[in-house]
């Protein structure tokens, strides 16, 4: 029995590596470069931005919260490449440090909603019946909400009790898992009928073992795509919440908050709002291009033309 279980384990790995064989990492990169050079460039850009965020204290021209009240609201120039804000803080420095908040807020809720969505989606798809019905109605309910309004309600509730960044994690994870669950469920439904799952089941492999050893590995490609496309939408949501003044709270800096703080100077000093806005746009675009490229390669189910 023990032996047989192991064998099916190997089988499923063989199945997983089948996909790997078809597209080895190098080949995949090569193919992507040929098909979609923008996706590769975006990946490079994303890595560069992550590096910039990590090494912000080293590369930033000024200290994080360094104020210079003699040099307030200056335009872009040699001393301050992107100008200074109303407290004389260097905008470029703030954008570099803001990247830490904005990227973390993009990535962590995406991971959390991916995990919740994966587990609930697999359970719904694999068990079917009443469990499936109830979970999918819950998904319907979550998807019925305009996401921004739901996040606003969550921020309202948690906002007074926890750190604003943690509240945003909660808000974006709660609003994000439902669409992941839906995709995972539909994949589980079709994988459940595949021969190797049937084989595993017939020799008595447990339900949860089948889910994690046999179904989960085959969901990974779509999970990667979902993740890559979820990150930019989280970054956008965070920046929108912060822009409305109900997201990240000062003194922490995020790009959305920077736009919020500079909108009062919009007509006199538009560059103050422009720099963080453009940063958001570039990062979100890069993630979207990468996600699109990955989808074309990894995920025949979700392909769009």
């Amino acid at each position: 029995m023990e032996k047989k279980t192991k064998q099916t384990g190997i089988q499923s790995e063989a199945h997983a590596s089948d996909i790997g064989e078809k597209y080895g990492w190098k080949e995949m990169l090569h193919q992507m470069w040929k098909q979609n050079p923008l996706a590769i460039l975006s990946a490079v850009l994303i890595i560069a931005i992550i590096a910039a965020a990590v090494f912000a204290p080293v590369i930033a021209p000024y200290k994080e919260a360094q104020q210079d009240l003699t040099a307030r609201l200056q335009g872009p120039g040699m001393k301050h490449l992107l100008g200074t804000d109303e407290l004389g803080r260097d905008v470029l420095t703030r954008i570099l440090f803001g990247a830490r908040v904005s990227l973390v807020v993009g990535i962590i809720p995406s991971v959390i909603s991916l995990i919740i969505g994966l587990i609930l989606g697999m359970i719904a798809g694999y068990f079917g019946g009443a469990v499936d019905y109830l979970l999918m109605r819950l998904v319907d309910i979550m998807l019925a909400f305009p996401s921004l309004l739901l996040s606003m309600v969550i921020m309202y509730t948690l906002g007074r009790y926890a750190n604003s960044v943690i509240c945003i994690f909660a808000a974006l994870s709660i609003t994000g898992w439902a669409s992941v669950a839906r995709v995972v469920r539909s994949q589980t439904l079709s994988l459940k009928e595949s021969v190797y799952v049937e084989a595993a089941r017939s020799i008595g492999v447990g339900k949860f073992r089948i889910m994690f050893r046999h179904i989960f590995p085959n969901c990974i490609p779509s999970l990667i795509v979902l993740f890559t496309l979820n990150v930019p939408s989280c970054i956008l949501s965070e920046s929108t919440l912060s822009f409305l003044g109900i997201g990240v709270q000062p003194p922490a800096a995020s790009w959305g908050l920077m736009v919020n703080q500079s909108k009062q100077f919009l007509f006199g000093m538009p560059w103050l709002a422009l720099a963080p806005s453009i940063t958001i746009m570039i990062v979100v675009l890069a993630f979207n291009f990468l996600g699109d490229g990955l989808r074309d390669i990894l995920d025949p189910y979700m392909q769009t033309r």
């Binding site: 309910i141 305009p146 921004l148 969550i154 929108t240 822009f243 709002a273 979207n288």
Partner: protein, 306 residues
């Protein structure tokens, strides 16, 4: 007809679930609304009296059912800060949001469908890549950025439009463009892929073989069938438009539902927040249902299958 009724009945659990979820989310924390209402200085007696008046001493489940009972009759409670019924406030604000959303939708559909058709006809040519790049950019630009940009360039610099909303239709054009821009991108992609799909089918070859011009093949034969997924898309957009309206309304100071929601959060006005979120979500659910039904009207294959 049976199907329509079935679908409407199927909506009820979702509606109840949505209401319950908002209800719970707004009450899970111990910070009780009475202290928000009273501010800093108050006596224990006042707290007790208000708690009783507001039914906050009753069990949560009882509170929920009385809220639902009242909501069905159109009573969503009274706003803490504005001291007026939430329903009145919402109904006053709703027309502004509807006007904004309709204009945004019109802009999104016209731009999106046109760009989609052009991209499909010029598939893999320069114009196609340009439009698809722009559509991805459209989805990636935060709405507040588009709004601020339009406000700065067209209102402030060129003085073509009023800076903020003053009730006239012209003052809604910029917010509508900002709001519609995002949706236009996804509609364009959808139209393009649908059209490319349909163009490969046999009946299109027949139409071409009959000697019809390319324009007539696309407009008369292909477009109609490729529009089906776009209809569903429009319903999905309704939800994101309601989210987007919160931002554009705040930037252009339009007195709509989104403004109510943001002011409710800023003033910690729980009944108002609860009412606006519930109302908006119901609108989205009804919109989705309508699109679903419209879909089956438009596509005879589905109509017969049910």
């Amino acid at each position: 007809m049976k199907r329509v009724l079935g679908r409407i009945a199927g909506m009820i659990p979702v509606l109840l679930g949505v209401t319950l979820l908002i209800f719970i989310l707004l009450r899970v924390v111990p910070g009780d609304p009475v202290s928000i209402l009273l501010g800093e200085h108050y006596s224990q007696e006042t707290i007790d009296r208000l708690t009783r008046v507001m039914d906050l001493d009753k069990p949560l489940i009882q509170q929920f059912f009385s809220y639902v009972g009242n909501a069905v009759r159109g009573n969503l409670g009274e706003s803490y800060t504005m001291k007026r019924p939430v329903t009145t406030l919402i109904l006053q604000a709703f027309p502004s949001t509807v006007k904004l959303a309709l204009m945004a939708a019109a802009i999104a559909w016209v731009i999106g469908i046109l760009a989609g058709i052009i991209a499909a006809v010029r598939q893999n040519k320069l114009l196609d890549h340009l439009f698809m790049g722009m559509s991805l950019a459209g989805v990636s630009v935060p709405i507040f950025m588009t709004s601020l940009f339009l406000q700065y360039v067209l209102s402030f610099k060129l003085k073509l439009f009023p800076l903020t909303s003053d009730g006239r239709l012209i003052s809604l054009i910029l917010p509508a463009i900002a709001l519609g821009w995002n949706s236009a991108g996804s509609i364009a992609r959808m139209t393009r892929s649908g059209l490319i799909d349909v163009m490969q089918q046999d009946y299109i070859d027949t139409a071409k073989a009959k000697g019809l011009t390319k324009a007539s093949v696309i407009l008369k034969h292909a477009l109609k069938n490729s529009m089906l997924p776009v209809v569903t898309m429009m319903a999905i957009q309704l939800s994101s438009m309601m989210s987007g309206a919160v931002i554009t309304e705040s930037i252009f100071s339009i007195p709509g539902i989104g403004r109510l929601a943001t002011s409710a959060i800023q003033n910690r006005d729980m009944p108002l927040l609860q009412g606006t979120v519930l109302f908006t979500t119901i609108i989205v659910i009804i919109g989705n249902l309508a699109a679903d039904l419209l879909y089956s009207v438009l596509d005879p294959r589905i109509r017969r299958a049910v």
